[in-house]
C-alpha cells in the first residue's frame, strides 16, 4: 500500500491541496499526518476540516506542538508563532479544538513509528537537526523506520547493524529502498512552510509492500497563500518567507 506522509501543513491550504492532488495522482491509498496542522497560515479551519475528513476514512493524525498550543497546552514558541496561535484560536470551532485535544503523540503500526518531533521524548518537542540528535532517536527507537516532521527540512538518517550513523539529503522523486538490516529515521519536510530554500511543498510517499520511500516536491500557488497571510493581519514575515522557503 502506498501511504502519503504529510507534516507541518500549518494552515497553508494551497500547499496542502497541491500535495493531496499530487498524492492522489500517484496512487496513494492512505494518509498519515505528522502534526502541526495550524499556526503560521491563514486557513487553519479548512486544513483541519480536511484532515478530520481523512481521519474519518481511516487516516492517522499525530499531535504537533502548534496544535497542542492552540488547544491550550503551555508550549514555548517564538513571537510570530505565538501571534499566529492567538489568531488561529479565534478561527477554530469547538469541534476543531476537540479534535486537536484528542490527537496522540505517537502511533506505531507494525514496524513503522509515526511522531511529530524527536521520538526520544515526543512531548518535549525536540528537533532532529543533526547526526547527534538523530543517533539518539535511532538508538531509542525499536521501529525499523520512524517518520517525523517538526524541522521543516527533509532529511533521512540511518543506522547500520554495526551502529554507524549517517545522514542523507533526499532527492525529489528518487525512490529510496529502506533496506531491512538497518534502522531508518525519515524527517519529512514541511507541506506548508518549507525551510530548505526550496519553496515547493514537501511530502513523502511510503510503499509498505516494498519498503520504498520517495520524497516529493510539489510546486503550488505561493502567491495566494502569502497574500492571505498578510490580508489576515498575521505577522508579515510569515508571508514573505513562503516565497523563498526559509
Amino acid at each position: 500500500m502506498r501511504i502519503a506522509l504529510l507534516s507541518d501543513i500549518h494552515g497553508n491550504r494551497e500547499a496542502f491541496e497541491a500535495c493531496l492532488e499530487h498524492a492522489e495522482r500517484n496512487g496513494v491509498a492512505q494518509y498519515v499526518f505528522l502534526g502541526d496542522y495550524v499556526g503560521y497560515g491563514a486557513d487553519p479551519g479548512w486544513v483541519l476540516d480536511s484532515v478530520m475528513a481523512h481521519v474519518e476514512r481511516g487516516a492517522i493524525a499525530i499531535l504537533g506542538n502548534h496544535d497542542a498550543a492552540v488547544a491550550g497546552d503551555p508550549v514555548s514558541l517564538n513571537e510570530d508563532a505565538s501571534a499566529a496561535i492567538s489568531w488561529t484560536q479565534s478561527r477554530l470551532s469547538p469541534a476543531h479544538n476537540d479534535f486537536l485535544r484528542r490527537l496522540p503523540l505517537t502511533v506505531q503500526r507494525g514496524n513503522y513509528l509515526y511522531v511529530h518531533a524527536n521520538p526520544v521524548a515526543p512531548g518535549e518537542w525536540g528537533y532532529i537537526t543533526d547526526l547527534y540528535s538523530a543517533s539518539r532517536a535511532l538508538v531509542a527507537s525499536q521501529a525499523h523506520a520512524t517518520f517525523c516532521g517538526h524541522t521543516h527540512v527533509p532529511s533521512l538518517f540511518h543506522m547500520s547493524v554495526t551502529g554507524k550513523f549517517a545522514s542523507f539529503d533526499p532527492i525529489d522523486r528518487v525512490e529510496i529502498p529502506l533496506t531491512p538490516r538497518r534502522r531508518w529515521l525519515a524527517v519529512i519536510g514541511s507541506v506548508g512552510q518549507p525551510r530548505d530554500l526550496n519553496p515547493a511543498a514537501c511530502y513523502a510517499v511510503l510503499d509498505t509492500a516494498t519498503d520504498v520511500l520517495t520524497y516529493m516536491r510539489v510546486p503550488y500557488d505561493v502567491d495566494s497563500a502569502a497574500k492571505k497571510i498578510s490580508n489576515a493581519g498575521l505577522p508579515i514575515g510569515l508571508s514573505y518567507r513562503l516565497y523563498q522557503g526559509y
Binding site: S160, F165, V174
Partner: protein, 488 residues
C-alpha cells in the same frame, strides 16, 4: 538460519526453488533457482554470514540490494527479488556468457582486440553512469560478456548510486575495492566520481594488452596509496610494438588526476572505436615512467592527501556530451552549412568538454557499384574529408575533441542513426533544406533522423525571408488549392 551452506537442492525460499549450487564467490554462495511464472534463467546470491557479522558482507549485501533494484538495461543482470532476516538473498537474471577473466587468462591480446573489448565495457559503464551509478569495483571477474558480445557488469556490493545513501562510504573509515584496480581518488575514500571506473577500465586495458598489472596486485591498503604519486610503467615497456594510440588511451585512463582522464565512458568508448582519430600526445611515446624528481614532487603533494568527503559535483556526464553534426556538402547548401556552423558555435560555447563528430554521408546507389572516383578522377571520400575540415575550422573545439567521418550508404538517415547509437551520441545537429513539397512526401533525411534518433536532435534551417518560405500555401498551390496570401 543465516547459513547458506545448510541449504540443499530442492529447498525453496520465498517461492524460489534451489536447483543447483554454483561455484561460491568470496562473500556469497550462488544457486541456480527457478520460479513458476518466470522463464528467465535465475541465480540466487546468498551472502555468507556464517563468520559472524562481517560488516563488509552485510553492508555490501544491503548496498547491492539497494543499487541493483534501481538499475535496468542490457548491461546489468535483471533484478528479480530480494529478501532478508530469515534468509538474506538477491535473485537476479543468470547472465550466460564468459567472464573477462577468461580472456585475461589467454595472455596479452592484439591491440585491436583489447580495444574492442574495452569499447564494450565502456559502453556498459556509460549506461550505468547515466543511471547515476558508479561501479567502483570494476575488474575482469565482474565483467561478463554475453555470446552476442554485449557486456554485463555484475557485483554492485561496493558501488555507489549518487542519488541514494552511500551505505558503504558511511560504514567504513578505510578505502574499499580491489588493490589492482582502485583509482587514486578511491584510495582517498572518494566515492562520487564516475571517472574512477574509467581508471579501472584503464587497468583492465593495460592487462589485456600487456598481460601485466600496472600497479601489481597489492592487498594492503598502505600499498594502494603509492599510486597517488607513482605512475605505472608505460605499456610499451612490456609490449614493444603496442600501437601509440592504445598506449595514449590507456595512460590517459590511468592519470592520477581524474580531470586528466576521459570525461565520460562514452568519450573513452569513442576513442577506442576510432583509433585513427586519437590525438597522440607525449603519453603515446613514453618508454619509461616519470623521473625521480617528478615522482618526488607528487609524493610531497599527495603523501598526506586527506580523505575526499565532497558531495558529488554537478554531473560531469551531462556536461561532457558527444555532439554529432551531419553536414551536407553539396554546392547549393553553402548557406545551410553556415547556419549549421552558427548553431554549433552556440551549442559548443556552453559545453567546453563536449566532443564533436563531423559526419558526411555519401549517398550510394542501392543497386550499382559506385565508381570510386568522380569525373575529375578525385577520390570523393578524401575530397569530402578535406571539405569537412575546412568547414569546421571556425568551430570552438580543441583538436583532440573533433573528428571527421565520411560514410557511404544508400540510406543517409539510417547511417546517421546507426552512428549515433554506436557512439553514445547525446545530441545530433543537422540541417534541413527548405521543405520542398517533393521532399515532404518522400521524407527528408532530417525528419527521418528526428523520428528515429536515440537522443536530442536539433534541426537547423537557413534563415529565409518570409516571402521565400515554401510553406503550407506553397503546397496548397502545388495541389491546385487556392492561394490565400501573398506568398510565393
Amino acid at each position: 538460519m543465516l547459513n547458506g551452506r545448510s541449504l540443499v537442492p530442492g529447498d525453496t525460499i520465498d517461492g524460489f526453488r534451489l536447483d543447483r549450487q554454483l561455484e561460491s564467490g568470496g562473500m556469497a554462495d550462488f544457486w541456480r533457482v527457478s520460479h513458476t511464472g518466470i522463464a528467465l534463467p535465475l541465480i540466487m546470491k546468498i551472502p555468507l554470514l556464517r563468520r559472524g557479522e562481517d560488516p563488509l558482507t552485510i553492508v555490501g549485501f544491503e548496498q547491492e540490494q539497494m543499487i541493483l533494484s534501481r538499475l535496468s538495461g542490457p548491461h546489468v543482470p535483471r533484478f528479480i527479488a530480494a529478501g532478508d532476516f530469515e534468509q538474506p538473498y538477491i535473485v537476479m537474471e543468470h547472465v550466460a556468457g564468459q567472464s573477462l577473466m577468461h580472456r585475461i587468462d589467454q595472455g596479452p591480446q592484439p591491440d585491436e582486440a583489447a580495444a574492442r573489448v574495452g569499447a564494450r565495457v565502456a559502453d556498459a559503464l556509460h549506461d550505468i553512469h547515466q543511471q547515476h551509478v558508479i561501479h567502483l569495483d570494476l575488474k575482469p571477474s565482474n565483467i561478463i560478456q554475453r555470446d552476442n558480445g554485449t557486456v554485463v557488469l555484475i557485483d554492485f556490493g561496493l558501488s555507489r548510486n549518487l542519488q541514494l545513501p552511500d551505505l558503504i562510504g558511511e560504514e567504513f573509515d578505510s578505502p574499499v575495492g580491489t588493490g589492482a584496480y582502485v583509482a587514486p581518488e578511491q584510495v582517498r575514500r572518494g566515492r562520487n566520481d564516475p571517472r574512477s571506473d574509467i581508471f579501472g577500465l584503464g587497468v583492465i586495458l593495460y592487462v589485456l594488452a600487456t598481460g601485466e598489472y600496472p600497479f601489481g596486485q597489492p592487498e594492503r591498503e598502505s600499498e594502494w596509496r603509492r599510486r597517488l604519486w607513482r605512475d605505472p610503467l608505460p605499456p610499451r615497456w612490456w609490449k614493444k610494438d603496442i600501437a601509440p594510440w592504445l598506449q595514449e588511451i590507456i595512460l590517459r585512463c590511468l592519470e592520477i588526476n581524474p580531470d586528466a582522464r576521459y570525461e565520460t565512458a562514452a568519450q573513452l568508448r569513442f576513442a577506442l572505436q576510432h583509433p585513427e582519430d586519437v590525438l597522440l600526445t607525449a603519453r603515446s611515446e613514453r618508454h619509461y615512467r616519470d623521473g625521480t624528481v617528478a615522482v618526488f614532487m607528487r609524493w610531497l603533494a599527495n603523501r598526506n592527501a586527506p580523505p575526499i568527503r565532497a558531495r558529488p559535483a554537478a554531473s560531469l556526464i551531462d556536461r561532457s556530451p558527444i555532439v554529432m553534426s551531419a553536414i551536407d556538402l553539396s554546392p547549393d547548401a553553402e548557406g545551410l552549412r553556415e547556419a549549421l556552423a552558427i548553431a554549433l558555435r552556440r551549442i559548443l560555447a556552453t559545453e567546453p568538454s563536449a566532443r564533436l563528430a563531423c559526419v558526411n554521408v555519401l549517398k550510394t546507389s542501392r543497386i550499382t557499384l559506385d565508381r570510386l572516383e568522380d569525373a575529375q578522377g578525385r577520390n570523393p571520400h578524401l575530397q569530402r574529408l578535406i571539405e569537412l575540415k575546412h568547414w569546421a575550422r571556425s568551430l570552438p573545439v580543441a583538436d583532440d575533441r573533433i573528428t571527421y567521418h565520411v560514410f557511404e550508404s544508400p540510406d543517409p538517415a539510417a547511417a546517421i542513426i546507426d552512428y549515433a547509437v554506436n557512439n553514445n551520441v547525446d545530441h545530433i545537429v543537422l540541417g534541413a533544406r527548405g521543405s520542398a513539397p517533393l521532399r515532404r512526401y518522400l521524407g527528408s533525411v532530417s525528419s527521418q533522423v528526428v523520428a528515429k534518433a536515440p537522443c536530442t536532435v536539433t534541426v537547423v534551417r537557413q534563415p529565409v525571408s518570409t516571402q521565400d518560405m515554401p510553406d503550407e500555401q506553397g503546397l496548397a498551390t502545388l495541389q491546385g488549392g487556392t492561394e490565400s496570401t501573398g506568398a510565393g
